[in-house]
Structure formats: C-alpha cells, structure tokens
C-alpha cells in the first residue's frame, strides 16, 4: 500500500491504495466515482476514458501509482450544480445513447476534443472518437451531438 495524491474534478484526494491497481479501479472502487465504466479493461473500448493532465486516456491503461500528482476529470465533473452540460444535453437531444454504457467515455473524449478545438470538423470529430466503441447507436447520433456543440451551442 502506498499513499498518493491527485486532483479529481477539482477536488484534492489523498488515497492509500495497493500498488498494483489501475487508475480505473482507483476511481471506481476507492473513490466511488462509478461513472467511469469498465468495458474491456484492456484499452480496447474507451468506456473508461478520463481526461488526465489535459489529455484523454484509457483509465484502465494507467496504474493508480502513476497518477500521483495528476489532475483528472471524469464524467462526474461534467454537470455543474445538478445541471447537465450543453454537451450532455446534446447527447440526449440527438439520441446519442441507448444503453448508455459507452456514454461517459464518449463524453470525456468529446470534452477533450472540444477543449482543445472548439470548432472541430466532422472528420476531426470522427478521428478524435476512434478509441470509443458503441454497440448501440451506430455512432451517427454521437457525431451529430458533438457537431451540434461544435456548431456553437457550447
């Protein structure tokens, strides 16, 4: 067990945890932030996407110990004061989710893209979302939801 410190959604955490767990396990089972999902735990699906020091990554592909000192944003930080973000609302408006399992990861990848490039083209959106798999929607509504925000709703 080792102590690490990290910032998640603006809050400072000090955690005492085993050295051999992933950041995904740390978030879900130690910090109880279960919005970030575990699909494959092997870097394949993107359900575990979080923003890590400003970059979107798979939380299942990072060890918790590596995150000592990191600044992390998860889906729990997206709504503010109980109000959905425009990006979350656009997902609902565009029917960009069905079962919803991929959605936290989709939103975090889209958030990272929009933070870096507020007006991405469709191609840039498709490229940025390549790491996130969805078994329900067929992707088109997800792209439309992000396009809607990229078009100015942000």
């Amino acid at each position: 067990m080792k102590a690490i410190q990290l910032t998640v959604n603006g809050g400072a955490y000090k955690v005492f945890c085993p050295e051999d767990i992933t950041l995904l396990t740390l978030l879900r089972e130690h910090l109880h932030l279960t919005g970030t999902k575990e699909g494959c735990a092997a870097g394949e699906c993107g359900a575990c996407t979080v923003i890590y020091n400003g970059k979107p990554i798979n939380a299942c592909m990072v060890l918790a110990m590596e995150a000592d000192g990191a600044v992390i944003e998860t889906i729990e930080g997206e709504a503010k004061d109980g109000v959905l973000s425009p990006l979350q609302q656009a997902f609902i408006d565009c029917h960009a989710l069905q079962c919803g399992f991929c959605t936290p990861g989709m939103i975090m990848s889209a958030r990272a893209l929009l933070d870096e490039n507020p007006t991405p083209t469709r191609d840039e959106i498709v490229h940025a979302m390549e790491g996130n798999l969805c078994r329900c929607t067929g992707y088109e509504p997800i792209i439309r939801a992000i396009e809607q925000i990229a078009g100015g709703a942000q």
């Binding site: 085993p18 870097g43 394949e44 970059k55 798979n58 590596e66």
Partner: protein
C-alpha cells in the same frame, strides 16, 4: 503483487536495475498493463521511466533526431520534427491505435515490446535508428537492425533500459502504409515503410511479414525497375497466417502496400 518504483534520475534507475532482478519497465503501459493483468508477466517491481526528465526530451541536432524513452507517440506527432525523411514515423504514429492510446504509448515501448507488427518498427528500420541503453555497469548503443530476435524477443538484457531512440541525419523522403482490420483498434496485418534517398537508394521494411520486422537494404532505383524491386522485396519476406490474416493475404497486401509506399515517395524524384 508488485512494488511500484518511480526513480527521478538515471542514477536511481540504474540502482533499481541492479537491485531488483525481477523488474519490469513501464513506459506508456499499453502493452505491459495488459501483460500484468493477464498474468503473462509477474514482476516483483514495476519501474516507471516517465519521471526521469532526461527521458521526456525530443530534440534535433545537426546530426541526429533523438526521442526520449518516455516521449509519447502523440508528442512525437506534435513535435514538428517528423517531416521529410522522417515522414514515415509520422504516418506510422498516426496509424498506431487511437488518440487515447497515443497519449500514453511510446516509441521505446513499441520497440521494446518487439511485436513483429509494431507500427513504428518498419519506419525505424529504414531510417537505420538505434537505441541507447543503460545498465548497472554502463550502457550501449544497439542498432535496431540487430535488435529484434523473434516475436516479442529482443537483445536487451533483463537489467537494461532504453533511454532514447536515435535517428541519424537522413535525406530524401519516406512513407509508411498499413493494412489493418479496424481503424483505431488493430495491429497491422501488414505494414510497409520505405525511404528513398536523394541518390535513388531505396530501403524497404516490413511489419508482420516474418518473426521480426524485416529490413531490406538497399535497392537502386536508378538501375532497377519497379517490377524488379517488387519481386526482390517479396522474396525477402516470409509472412505466416494467423488470427489477423492468412499468409496469402499478407503476401498480396505486402506487394500492394509496397507499391503504395513507392507511389508516395517517388513523387519527389526529379
């Protein structure tokens, strides 16, 4: 259960390489963490190389382009250095998985994982790159053309760590083409890199066409026709069939992608 080590200097890293015989190095972790999870590797300690400032550098001098062992593929792509003769590295980096993985995965990790299909490897081979390593009692320079021993096997000793990958100054133009099943989510079924020097010398390298990446040096485009080059290149590779593609498909694709690489790099010839 393993201990997590994160040395901040090369000296401390050397100390751990010496004192921890069953240690595994962690760069981006996109191969290692899967191995740990599946129990394929069971180290006593995992040593993160990313806290060592010297390893996070990417720099170009008169003679070389150096990429530290902790530099991510995405950082390479954004560096602005991967143009001209180094363009194949850019194209390979863009083909490696997807942005979520490129934000973690490193060039050194791709090299040390030694998969025959690793996307960065053919480009490294045509550019005649080498790695520089440290060990408890020193270090060495290993040309990548002598580095790969077989699938996931290389010449590094267990107490040896790559600190950087170095590309000698090059001239001309290079390209990389990859065939895969699913964009963003698959290793190469076949990957081909080519470097055409200003003097017409052509070097080709192939991923997933043998037990290691294969480098075929050197063709002369001044005297050899394209058909001759293609025939000679196809004789130099030995693809097998596996879960990603049949042997026959790989042979066809290797030829097709080699042509695509030649189309991309021959444009610049006068």
């Amino acid at each position: 259960m393993y201990a997590f080590l994160a040395p901040k200097t090369l000296e401390d890293a050397r100390g751990f390489l010496e004192s921890r015989p069953n240690l595994k190095l962690l760069a981006g972790g996109t191969d290692l963490i899967i191995g740990l999870r599946e129990g394929l590797v069971t180290p006593d300690a995992v040593m993160d190389v990313k806290q060592i400032p010297a390893l996070t550098q990417i720099r170009q001098t008169e003679d070389v382009l150096e990429i530290g062992a902790a530099v991510t593929v995405d950082e390479m792509l954004r560096s602005g250095y991967l143009s001209g003769p180094y363009h194949a590295l850019y194209e390979a980096g863009e083909e490696l998985a997807n942005i979520l993985l490129r934000n973690r995965a490193t060039l050194a990790g791709n090299i040390c994982n030694a998969s025959p299909g690793g996307d960065m490897l053919p480009a490294c081979l045509v550019l005649d790159a080498w790695v520089e390593t440290i060990r408890p009692d020193g270090g060495r320079r290993i040309p990548l053309r002598e580095f790969f021993m077989g699938p996931k096997r290389h010449v590094l000793a267990s107490d040896e760590m790559v600190v950087k990958t170095v590309f000698p100054r090059a001239a001309g133009k290079s390209a990389y083409r990859k065939k895969k099943r699913i964009r963003g989510h698959d290793l190469a079924q076949v990957g081909v890199a080519g470097l055409l020097g200003a003097d017409g010398a052509l070097t080709l390298a192939f991923g997933a066409c043998g037990p290691t990446p294969i480098c075929l040096d050197v063709f002369d485009t001044n005297t050899q026709s394209r058909a001759e080059i293609l025939d000679a290149a196809m004789n130099g590779i030995a693809p097998i069939g596996d879960v990603r593609a049949s042997k026959e498909h790989r042979q066809e694709m290797a030829r097709y992608l080699t042509e695509a690489v030649l189309d991309a790099i021959e444009e610049v010839r006068v």
